[in-house]
């Protein structure tokens, strides 16, 4: 098992290195002065010149690449044009907010998606199944950013039920930092008022982000249950008289969850992408809104930093997915 983890980490490194290479090439392949590109449109000439020395753009391309990589390796993702602070510190500050949002959305999607998937498989080809399938195909077609705005418009602006943006109402200061996730930290600190307020802020963005993975999990679970029901061992388990409840509840469900569980891991990575837009709409202070901000101010260094960080998180998630898959299905262990 440990050998497998090491091997997967080793496999992830060339992919990430490739990513660094790709971004480096793109910066240099773009016409115009790389320093200007990196510094961004609003940068002052001095800053561009400072960047040119910093990265040594006048030096041969290979040497520049090694400086770029060594700088990344040393953990410094460059200086943010806007805040003049180390990008890496800013990213670390903002990560917990993104995790809180994405984990909440995934939990929502799983808690609703799997049961609905099982139900629509159980009522195969009857009206409930068709209804749920329309809902799931519709869910996949809804643009999450449009849904976010519509939710914000109806629930916040019109009905004023839920807060329009941010993680906490004005005037409330966050609970002591434990996980960085306000909802959890406030529970740990026993501050239920903070918990209620933070949770209220989380609902709309969380739901907007959860719709697409929810629809996908529903489809995968339905397909998994249906394919399990066609298996020989389910026929055998009926032939030897397993009571219906035991057959469906214990065996068919357990077999059907193998694929959806691995899909949830991959979906976690995918919604990191759509989180970028949702955070921007709800001013959710996570990596996403940071990336959108850096786009607006053409601060390429910040955008690339976010891409690399998300890349690393994505690689870790994929390894985790394989571990979960191995834990769920004993046959996988042998192939690792």
């Amino acid at each position: 098992m440990f050998l497998f983890i090491v091997r997967r980490l080793l496999l992830a490194i060339p992919a990430l290195f490739g990513l660094v290479l790709l971004t480096f090439i793109l910066i240099h392949a773009v016409p115009g002065d790389p320093a200007a590109v990196l510094a961004g449109d609003q940068a002052t000439p001095q800053q561009i010149q400072a960047l040119r020395e910093h990265y040594g753009f006048d030096r041969p391309i290979l040497e520049q690449f090694f400086r770029y990589v060594s700088q990344l390796a040393s953990g410094s993702l460059g200086i943010s044009y806007m805040t003049q602070r180390q990008i890496s510190t800013e990213i670390i500050e903002r990560m917990p907010a993104t995790f809180e949002l994405t984990l909440f959305a995934m939990t929502l999607a799983t808690m609703i998606g799997i049961p609905l998937g099982v139900i629509s498989a159980y009522f195969h080809n009857r009206w409930l199944d068709h209804l749920l399938r329309i809902v799931s195909i519709g869910g996949l077609a809804v643009a999450s950013f449009w849904l976010a705005i519509m939710l914000q418009f109806t629930f916040s602006m019109e009905l004023d039920l839920l807060p329009v943006h941010g993680r906490l109402s004005q005037g409330l200061n966050p609970p002591p930092f434990v996980t960085g996730m306000i909802v959890l930290d406030s529970l740990i600190a026993g501050r239920f008022d903070l918990f209620r307020d933070a949770f209220a802020h989380l609902i709309l963005p969380g739901f907007a982000l959860a719709v697409a993975p929810l629809a996908t999990i529903m489809r995968f679970t339905r397909a998994a249950v249906l394919s399990t029901l066609r298996r020989e061992y389910v026929f055998y388990e009926r032939a030897v008289g397993y009571p219906r409840l035991v057959l469906m509840g214990k065996y068919v469900l357990r077999n059907s969850l193998v694929t959806p569980v691995t899909q949830i891991g991959l979906l976690l990575g995918a919604i990191l992408g759509s989180a970028v837009v949702i955070e921007a709409i709800f001013d959710w202070p996570g990596l996403g809104s940071y990336a959108v901000l850096s786009i607006a101010t053409a601060d390429y260094q910040a955008t690339l930093a976010v891409v690399l960080v998300v890349g690393c998180v994505y690689a870790l998630i994929n390894i985790l997915v394989d571990l979960v898959h191995a834990a769920v299905d004993p046959r996988i262990l042998e192939q690792l």
Partner: protein
């Protein structure tokens, strides 16, 4: 010696074992282990054994799809070994292969006519559409089949198309890989009849790979029994079925369901060896009732017994050959007496 059309000398093929980039290496197995074998012109040689004994691997190595690890292959007197699959197939055009999965051997998106046309094109043989029509007739299919697609024909018909296709390549030797596996009795009989007729009318030599001893007894002139990559006993079909010397051959013949004998004593215990475990000495010793110390240490070589059969067992002289009374009523059906028979 009669006209030996194909010969293998000390042929060995090792499968698995290549460690991919950071992947765990699959266990190495000697699927074909030091096999020496002759195929005489016009005969049907049976290669028989249970799953995992290497008979299919041997067939594909002789064909050239698999490259042998060591040993020589002589086709019509010329050395043809030591070649990558593509080159090997070009040099060994005289050998063709009929897949066990006849349905899968045809591209589902191509009509039968186009598939056969492609085969004729690949063969480089001159002749027009008529060649295809004649071949369809030879395998008992009507010409209307040409416009059909594989999924519109039955398993039996597809088997005939697959045979017609390789016959268009004008082979001298056809390797038949389990042609009757999984078939019902009536279809099996029709398929065996088809193979018999085609062999006679095109003067073919067949390598008949099967796990079913009763079919081998019916179709083959000579038989080689394989266990764990090695030939443990070989000889004329009548001799082998009349008197088996190697303990494994005895078990195989005894275990084959017969119409006549009632519940036979269990001939063999234990399970066929898994891939990868290397068994010292004679690979059969863990399951052999007659195993002694030498069997556990030294690999037995094929020796010629007085009846002309060869057997690879340290104790074959001491063990009285088992005879098989159940087969009395079976006449040997091998068409024209093959020319080699005189060279006992």
């Amino acid at each position: 010696m009669s006209d030996v059309i194909l010969e293998a000398r000390n042929l060995t093929t090792i499968l698995g074992g290549k460690a991919g980039f950071l992947q765990r290496a699959r266990p190495q197995t000697r699927a074909v282990d030091d096999v020496t074998l002759q195929l005489h012109r016009g005969e049907t040689l049976g290669l028989v054994g249970e799953s995992g004994c290497g008979k299919t691997t041997l067939g594909r190595t002789l064909l050239g799809l698999l490259r042998e690890t060591s040993g020589e292959i002589h086709l019509e007197g010329q050395r043809v070994d030591g070649l990558a699959p593509k080159a090997a197939r070009r040099v060994r055009r005289a050998i063709q292969y009929l897949h066990q999965d006849a349905v899968g051997a045809l591209d589902p998106w191509w009509s039968i006519g186009r598939t056969l046309g492609e085969a004729r094109q690949l063969s480089g043989v001159a002749g027009d559409e008529a060649v295809i029509d004649r071949m369809l007739g030879a395998v008992g299919l009507d010409l209307a089949a040409k416009t059909h697609y594989p999924h519109q024909l039955s398993g039996g018909q597809l088997r005939r198309v697959a045979l017609a296709r390789i016959m268009l390549l004008a082979p001298k030797i056809v390797v038949l890989d389990e042609p009757t596996a999984g078939l019902d009795l009536s279809i099996q009989a029709a398929v065996l009849r088809l193979l018999q007729d085609v062999k006679t009318s095109f003067q073919l030599t067949n390598l008949f790979i099967s796990h079913d001893m009763s079919v081998v007894r019916l179709m083959c002139d000579r038989v080689s029994v394989m266990y764990r990559g090695r030939i443990v006993e070989s000889g004329l079909s009548q001799d082998i079925f009349a008197a088996q010397r190697h303990p494994y051959t005895r078990a195989l013949v005894a275990a084959t369901p017969r119409l006549s004998t009632r519940v036979p004593a269990v001939a063999l215990d234990g399970d066929p060896p898994g891939l990868g475990q290397d068994i010292p000495g004679c690979a059969f010793h863990p399951r052999c009732a007659f195993a002694v110390d030498i069997c556990r240490t030294q690999k037995p070589e094929l020796e010629q017994a007085e009846t002309g059969s060869n057997v690879a067992c340290h104790r074959w002289r001491e063990l009285a050959p088992a005879n098989d009374d159940g087969g009395k009523q079976n006449g040997h059906v091998s068409g024209a007496a093959p020319a080699y028979q005189t060279a006992r």
